[in-house]
Amino acid sequence: MTLQLLLTLLLGGLATLDATPVAQTLLSQPLVTSTLLGLLWGDAHTALAVGVVLQILAASTTPLGSRTPEDYAAGGVVGVGLALALAHGVTLQPWRDAAQLAGVFAGMLAATSGVPLIKWQRRRNEGLSRWCERELRAGNESALGHASLAGVTMAFAVGVALCAAWLAGGIVLLRPFVEHESLRLSRAWTLAQPLWMGYGLAQLLHAFVQRRMTRLGVFGAAMIGAWLTLVMGTP
């Protein structure tokens, strides 16, 4: 479990890099990281159950302009990683459900707690920017490369630290709770999961429809068509 936890932290750092400082390819999205973590921990079912909910919520969070969005790169890794750690070696279904509920909560809280950290990094980068300008004036043209490297290193370190803090705290504090209250938490999960999914899907629908009735009609037709096909079965 120690090696899996260390690799989870490493993935947390890499996901944080992909989210903003490097490339932005969506490797950091919860569905991608949860799939990787599922393979790593050998429990694709738990990873996917948490990853899907966090992914739908993450998709409705946009990094527009200078707005600092919730950090779902770290949140995804924390949520799925915590659920996997809590459900590790457990076969009892209510316990596993409880671990998934705890994972989604921890993922959302970690994503929210990442906002002040991102803002802090951005303020630190202001100092880096002024240092870079001074160095350029002094004739050091490699300062730009060093500044980029410093920005990337800091983002990676913050991502790893955030994931480590949440995972450590989550495992220590939530394991006894999940163990003793698994029945209640399991019951809550059966309702919370569809509620969260519905809520997140509505946010996505709103982004696509943009108050255009034709698009809403397309959504309705697709939903009814798919529902009928699923209920009746394909001919």
Binding site: L31, S60, M108, L144, L204, R215
Partner: protein, 254 residues
């Protein structure tokens, strides 16, 4: 591309564009990353160290746009720097104006295309595939490929396109095509979401319990209502809903 800049130089710019946001800050936003990405161009054009440093310092000024389409702006800036190095082209103030105009125009289009359309579309399609094939990693792969392929193609080819077309890069056909892509993705997204909601209600043809269907419908309704306001954020709403469900579970079982 008949100018003095070689394709390899533009490729290096595209490669460095991946670090455009590595030093993002509230003061200059992408300014430092922009200067770092453009550095190979300035090194190729200005042999005199003093002029090169002055140009580099000039490019560290404020700049911000949607990071994928920033490649087009970098290509345009490379073209204008080439003209400047040849004795023509805009002066410092002119360059700043072009950057500001391009930054706003590309942000307006890029935010709609990449953040509001492609990203949610890729996420919805990925989730749908993941739910349909939970035993295989196809969902994650679909999500990543649907977004990353167009994103990386634009990032790497955009510099060359911006360089070839100059400041007029966003006029005419490219803008029309990107606008069409936004509209197409919105319709495709509506279809995927429709199928996804149906699949969540009846996964694999097996009708879920009334309580689960009601919870999904309640989430959808509340989500559509709360989407009319920016605050509280979707995550804060989701946390609140989660706490309510926990309370309900506790009260019901005493």
């Amino acid at each position: 591309m008949s100018g003095r800049l070689r394709p390899l130089t533009l490729w290096r710019v595209a490669l460095r564009a991946n670090l455009l946001q590595s030093t993002w800050n509230f003061e200059r936003q992408q300014g430092l990353g922009w200067a770092y990405a453009l550095q190979p161009v300035l090194e190729a054009l200005y042999g005199d160290a003093g002029t090169r440093r002055a140009r580099l310092a000039e490019h560290t000024a404020y700049f911000n746009t949607q990071p994928t389409l920033a490649s087009l702006a970098l290509g345009v800036a490379a073209r204008l720097e080439e003209e400047r190095a040849g004795g023509a082209g805009p002066d410092e103030a002119g360059m700043a104006r072009v950057k500001a105009a391009l930054g706003s125009a590309l942000a307006a289009l890029g935010d709609r295309l990449f953040w509001f359309s492609l990203r949610p579309f890729a996420a919805a399609l990925g989730v749908l595939v993941a739910l349909a094939h939970p035993e295989a990693p196809w969902g994650a792969l679909v999500l990543w490929l649907v977004y990353a392929v167009p994103h990386l193609v634009v990032r790497f080819l955009g510099v060359g396109l911006g360089y070839a077309q100059g400041p007029a890069v966003l006029g005419g056909r490219l803008r029309r095509n990107l606008e069409r892509a936004v509209s197409l993705l919105a319709y495709a997204g509506c279809v995927v979401l429709g199928v996804l909601v149906a699949y969540a209600l009846v996964p694999g043809g097996e009708v879920r319990s009334f309580a689960v269907q009601s919870a999904l419908a309640a989430g959808l309704g509340l989500g559509l209502l709360s989407a009319q306001r920016a605050r509280p954020s979707p995550t804060q709403w989701a946390l609140g809903l989660g706490v309510l469900v926990l309370l309900a579970a506790w009260l019901r079982q005493g």
